[in-house]
């Protein structure tokens, strides 16, 4: 149980912070258990569902597949970090208005992935959005309203 520990320093949602983490810990557990930001969700722990999607240096990834120590020196953004971003506000509003949220468990990961997609593609069409959200599973909505929300948000920018 006494795992090897390591000191890391990184930027989390715009704020610099230091932390000592087990070398075996993944970024998801660090965010949820060590730091207490629970917006990032555990869905499978194996990189197959996308519920734990975060952005690291502007690129979306599954935090369950990333070691916490690999956050060292990086710029990490979670769903909580989008709170003061007007562009992300528009995306969240689009999710709400288009009915893209049901149980909501996949939603933070979807929003993070969609935010990345909009940064990358600007005005993605339906096919591009579907492809871009391929790694994020949703069991409630059938994806249509999620895709609609992201396409609409991209179109209004």
């Amino acid at each position: 149980m006494s795992a090897l520990k390591h000191d890391i320093e990184f930027t989390l949602n715009g704020v610099k912070r230091k932390l000592t983490v087990d070398v075996t810990m993944n970024a998801l557990d660090m965010l949820r258990d060590a730091i207490g930001l629970t917006g990032t969700k555990y869905g499978c722990g194996e990189g197959e569902c996308g519920a734990c999607t975060i952005q690291v240096d502007g690129v979306s990834l599954n935090s369950c597949l990333m070691f916490a120590v690999d956050c060292n020196g990086r710029d990490v953004t979670t769903i909580e970090g989008l709170a003061n971003d007007p562009r992300a506000d528009a995306l969240r509003d689009a999710f709400v208005e288009h009915g893209a949220v049901q149980c909501g468990f996949c939603t933070p990961g979807m929003v993070m992935q969609a935010d990345h997609l909009l940064h990358k593609h600007g005005h993605p069409d339906e096919a591009c959005v579907k492809r871009g959200l391929e790694g994020n599973l949703c069991r409630c909505t059938g994806y249509k309203k999620i895709v609609d929300a992201v396409v609409a948000c991209g179109a209004t920018e």
């Binding site: 149980m1 917006g39 492809r131």
Partner: protein, 804 residues
């Protein structure tokens, strides 16, 4: 605005019904702020983990927990032997939470640990030593009913927690089973022999339905805590808190009044949280022993292994019709793979027989199910509750019967479809029924008849890509289902001094949007904006009784209950206003936050002002009302006859596919749905339900497959289970038929389960239309389709179970 203008202010009519109203909880969820059970931690909390069987079917010879107990950070280690008051759980009360003496499936719970952290608890599990003696495994339901089959439940369970070796004088909780039959269902109306004699065409086919599971994105979990007086607080994801409160009390041998269940937002339900599972009772045992809060969360692998499944079914259907297209009879035998224990899956015949007996007019119907024990995972309730399986068989036979008499499949269905006003052989009374309109609408919008003929003509044409179109329809309860002594729901409604409403409802929110719809219904009565409503729906210490979220009942039952409470509040408000302004209350109404004159819309007084006047006076009063709604449905009799729901929902879905005959790959191109929902209350919400259901049905038909081989689950992960992903979804065109049900809230009927039901059946019909090949076994993977196209699929046949 001058005083005179204000006085004569006209409030224009407005309604929230049928509008696209955003879900009230969506902003929190989309911001990652919603706290699911996974996100809640109590101070002093320990983490619980369960040791599951390493064998499929075996006797437990010994369990040694000493090393686990000695591990630093471990507080409690328990086995069945440590819980002398274990009571059997489940729908048939046929298993202990912690198994004693015998394991019957891979998921079986043997021991549990509560420790300082999840990591320590997991490490402790590895230190528990169990000796087994393997027994033969029953991996197929057909084998379970062989005369020499090993018995899965031969021994009685004692009420004192003992099993196998009962002490003398022990009272028996479950007496064991002399055969492997968990449950039997036998239903009949008319005389099938007569029906068969009157038939020009008779078909008999066997259909095989596979294992799928709910795959809720939020894994199962619970937090349990006992206070200093022995009262229990549970954070639970149950869909049926009030029934479970009583059941948990029984398992803990305490007064139900001592149990309080708080339901944090749920990461998906779909029927999975309708039964009490071993982990929940074990979590309570751990918390009781540790005298600390215990939190237990599944891993995703555990979620696959230890969650209920949809019931796998082997089904032989014999049905007939006359040359003129009149259905004559249906005879159905099913073999349900119950798995090792009995949960709600065994009772899916309640729903299946309704579809066989009553979706179309069938004068003679005979239905038999045997749900048998195997060493497989046990099946629970899952959105649609047997109806996907029943519809898969029926709607394929509808096409096949039509084809054998040379009739258009659409015409054949219209000829036999139910109408409003009919009472079926099973006693179901269709007060509102938009079935024929569903068929017509879905066919028109998809250009069904034209495409059906064109595709059929193209079957033998050159080219490897074949287009197909197929249809299927469904009937499902849409006004609750009277299974329990009451099918009701309670509401407490209170208004504050500013005309805000707190709606306290027994109905649980599981992501379906019930709190928004209930708020709309209340606002409609009280003339308020949706922002005026706060919903409280998650604490048994506060909310009034409700039977739970199941049977697509919440909008209908909780909706009528909320309306009842709001109408009482409105009556009181109008009486007060009438007296104050000396206007007969019949001439008053509520609109836009005002009391108005009903005819002109002229504002009489702001509602908040009136409420304050009522409150701050000598005889101070508040507006607070209660209402309990019990639907006018009846319990079925012993022959399963009776009008069990206050309303019935109908729907037709048309599926269009492209079959690649070189690879067997089937692309789902488009789904056109027409659903009789009574009335659309929240267009955004109902579209979401239908689309989500269609894609869940798509998964059932094409991709999802929980592979169980001789009791062993081969693919407990998303990668190999294969949920549908965003790029695979079809184009969806959904129409709503508003039959305005007389009993429904604002005319609405339940729709939660409906959209998943038709997909597999319609897809099978579409593939047949494309290729001329019929598929009787799910799912339609490229391998299966390819084999069928190349004549390599042996004809399925299961010899019908003989009713005794």
């Amino acid at each position: 605005m001058t005083v005179a203008e204000k006085k004569h202010r006209i409030i224009e009519p407005d309604s929230l019904i049928g509008k696209r109203i955003a879900k009230m909880d969506a902003p929190e969820k989309a911001s990652g702020r919603t706290r699911y059970i996974h996100d809640i931690n109590l101070s002093g909390q320990l983490h619980g983990k369960i040791l599951r069987s390493a064998r499929i079917h075996a006797l437990i010879k010994s369990i040694d927990t000493s090393a686990a107990k000695a591990l630093p950070g471990v507080h409690i280690v328990i086995t069945g032997a440590d819980i002398p008051d274990q009571r059997p759980i489940g729908v048939a009360k046929d298993h202990f939470p912690l198994k004693v003496g015998r394991v019957r499936s891979e998921r079986d719970e043997i021991a549990a640990v509560a420790a300082e952290s999840e990591e320590i608890a997991e490490a402790a599990l590895k230190l528990i030593k169990v000796e087994y003696e393997d027994l033969p495994v029953i991996g197929k339901p057909e084998d379970a009913i062989e005369p020499d089959a090993i018995l899965i439940h031969p021994e009685p369970h004692g009420a004192d927690g003992t099993h196998l070796h009962l002490k003398q004088g022990t009272s028996i909780a479950h007496k064991g089973k002399p055969d492997n039959i968990a449950m039997r269902f036998d239903y009949a109306h008319g005389d099938v022999a007569q029906g068969e004699a009157e038939s020009d065409v008779v078909l008999e086919d066997t259909f095989k339905l596979h294992y799928v599971t709910h795959c809720c994105m939020g894994v199962s979990g619970m937090i349990a805590e006992f206070d200093a007086s022995g009262n229990v607080l549970m954070y639970s994801n149950t869909q049926v808190p009030f029934l479970h409160k009583r059941e948990f009390a029984e398992y803990l041998n305490i007064d139900p009044a001592r149990i309080r269940i708080i339901q944090p937002p749920i990461g998906g339900g779909f029927g999975s949280k309708l039964d009490i599972y071993p982990f929940e009772v074990i979590c309570l045992y751990l918390a009781r022993a540790a005298k600390r809060p215990v939190k237990m969360l599944f891993t995703r692998e555990e979620e696959f292994l230890a969650s209920p499944t949809r019931q796998p079914v082997l089904l032989t259907l014999r049905s007939g019709c006359r040359k003129d297209g009149t259905l004559t009879f249906r005879q159905v035998h099913t073999l349900h793979d119950n798995g090792a224990y009995t949960s709600w899956g065994a009772t899916t015949p309640f729903v299946m027989m309704q579809t066989f007996s009553s979706l179309y007019r069938v004068p003679h119907c005979d239905y038999h199910t045997a749900a048998v024990y195997t060493n497989n995972p046990y099946a629970g309730s899952f959105r649609g509750y047997g109806n996907l399986q029943a519809t898969f068989a029926i709607e394929q036979h509808m096409d096949m019967l039509a084809q054998s008499i040379g009739m258009d499949p659409l015409e054949f269905r219209m000829k036999n479809a139910q109408d409003a006003g009919e009472v079926t052989g099973q006693g179901m009374s269709f007060k509102s029924c938009g079935f024929k309109e569903c068929i017509r609408t879905a066919a028109q919008r998809s250009d069904f008849s034209h495409k059906f003929g064109e595709n059929q003509a193209n079957q033998k044409a050159p080219g490897t890509i074949k287009r197909g179109i197929g249809m299927a329809s469904m009937l499902h309860v849409g006004g609750g289902a009277k299974i329990y002594p009451s099918d009701g729901c309670g509401t407490i409604l209170k208004m504050d001094d500013f005309a805000n409403v707190t709606l306290i409802t027994g109905a649980s929110e599981i992501g379906q949007g019930s709190e928004t719809v209930l708020s709309q219904l209340v606002c409609e009565e009280l003339g308020l904006p949706i922002s005026a409503v706060t919903v409280v729906n998650n604490d048994t210490a506060i909310t009034p009784w409700d039977v739970g979220v199941h049977a697509s009942r919440t909008t209908f039952i909780a909706g009528n209950s909320a309306i009842g409470a709001a109408k009482k509040a409105k009556a009181k408000i109008l009486a007060v206003a009438g007296k104050k302004f000396e206007i007969a209350e019949d001439y008053l109404d509520l609109r836009g936050g005002f009391v108005i004159k009903a005819d002109s819309g002229e504002a009489v007084i702001e509602l908040s002002k009136l409420l304050r006047n009522l409150h701050f006076q000598d005889k101070a009063e508040l507006v607070m009302t209660t209402f309990y709604y019990e639907p006018p449905s009846v319990h079925q009799d012993k022959g399963f006859k009776g009008d069990v729901s206050a309303a019935y929902a109908w729907g037709t879905q048309v599926v269009e596919v492209e079959v690649d005959t070189e690879t067997g790959n089937v692309k789902l191109v488009k789904v056109t749905g027409a659903h009789d929902v009574g009335r659309v209350l929240n267009r955004l919400g109902i579209e979401g339900q239908i689309e989500g259901g269609i894609v869940m049905g798509q998964g059932y038909a094409f991709t999802e497959d929980l592979m169980i081989e001789n009791g062993h689950m081969k693919n407990p992960n998303f990668r190999d289970y294969k949920l549908v992903t965003a790029p695979e979804i079809p184009e969806m065109d959904v129409a709503f038929i508003e039959s305005m049900d007389g009993e429904g809230p604002q005319g609405a009927k339940g729709v939660g389960e409906a959209p998943a039901i038709c997909m597999a059946a319609a897809a099978a019909n579409a593939i047949a239309n494309a290729t001329g090949i019929r598929l009787f076994e799910l799912p339609f993977t490229p391998e299966k389709v390819y084999r069928a196209l190349h004549g390599q699929t042996p004809k399925l046949y299961w010899k019908p179970w003989k009713a005794e």
